[in-house]
Symmetry: C2
Subunit: 159 residues, 2 copies
Amino acid sequence: MIRITKHTDYGIVLLTHMAADQERQYNAPDLAAEARLPLPMVSKILKLLARERLLLSHRGVKGGYSLARRPEAISMAEIIAALEGPIAITECIDLSGDCAHERICPARSNWHVINMALRSALEGISLAEMIHPLPPRLVTLGRSAVTAPASAHQGSSGL
Amino acid sequence: MIRITKHTDYGIVLLTHMAADQERQYNAPDLAAEARLPLPMVSKILKLLARERLLLSHRGVKGGYSLARRPEAISMAEIIAALEGPIAITECIDLSGDCAHERICPARSNWHVINMALRSALEGISLAEMIHPLPPRLVTLGRSAVTAPASAHQGSSGL
DNA sequence: CGGAATTAGTACCGATACGGTACTGTTTTA
DNA sequence: TAAAACAGTACCGTATCGGTACTAATTCCG
């Protein structure tokens, strides 16, 4: 199981919610109530997203948050990067040089192969698509071509 | 930062190491020494990989582990799935039904869009490619086509 | 002009689970 | 039969995540 923090989980939920009515300005208490998420968390996350320029904030009595861009122009990669930092799957990436294994470990120097693939995948999904999933898409990576079946809309279960 | 456990990190390091000499039978102490990883961890991880049929184990004095398949036939998706369970990015996937937000949350029902994309990306990378990265590849996801630059072999830094 | 509503920032705490270790059992070779 | 290696399980300390509280700054409106 690949893990992201709950902040990111909640963040995507909130952004998806906001994408439904793009023009509306949402304040933290209302959003928390509508998404059934704890207010303090929602507040914290919205602040982060605003700081990262994914949301516009308006202070004052009639203040609130609104999407900074159209949902089609916001990728999952951006959202995750905003809430968790650079998209990389392990730690030996950002601190280049202090990894004691770098010399002898053939894998370490190729971690970015995986990271690139993940980032590309996440860049290919827009916030808009989280509301209206696209029909089956052709995924071409490396040598193999994999057809990802259409999203089932409800039939979650495991994968 | 998307996180995997260190078990998985180490596991990929070890498998990459073993892929270098595919026929050789490695025992845990030697592998630990060569990869400069703590023996107890290595031991634990190898056991897991053997149980998941990615490695063949041979007991006894001259025992050890060897790859169960050719490195080209082992995908990153399999490795990660073996060490961390099903590849999914959040928890509300495997326990279908007990998520209180499922009804009202438009994002939750579409998480698998992301999970599919990640899994496809990881399925497209073989263990062999971790040693000899492929030239630039065309990644096609959704509407956008992103060309992933060739791996830099050493110039890690962040992404 | 002042009070209320809302965002902005920071500091703090508890619990989960990850990372790591130890111990015992089983199998095989010499 | 003894040694070497894999197999399984149980255990613990601690880092980090999840969550809360408090204060400051900003804007609207009566």
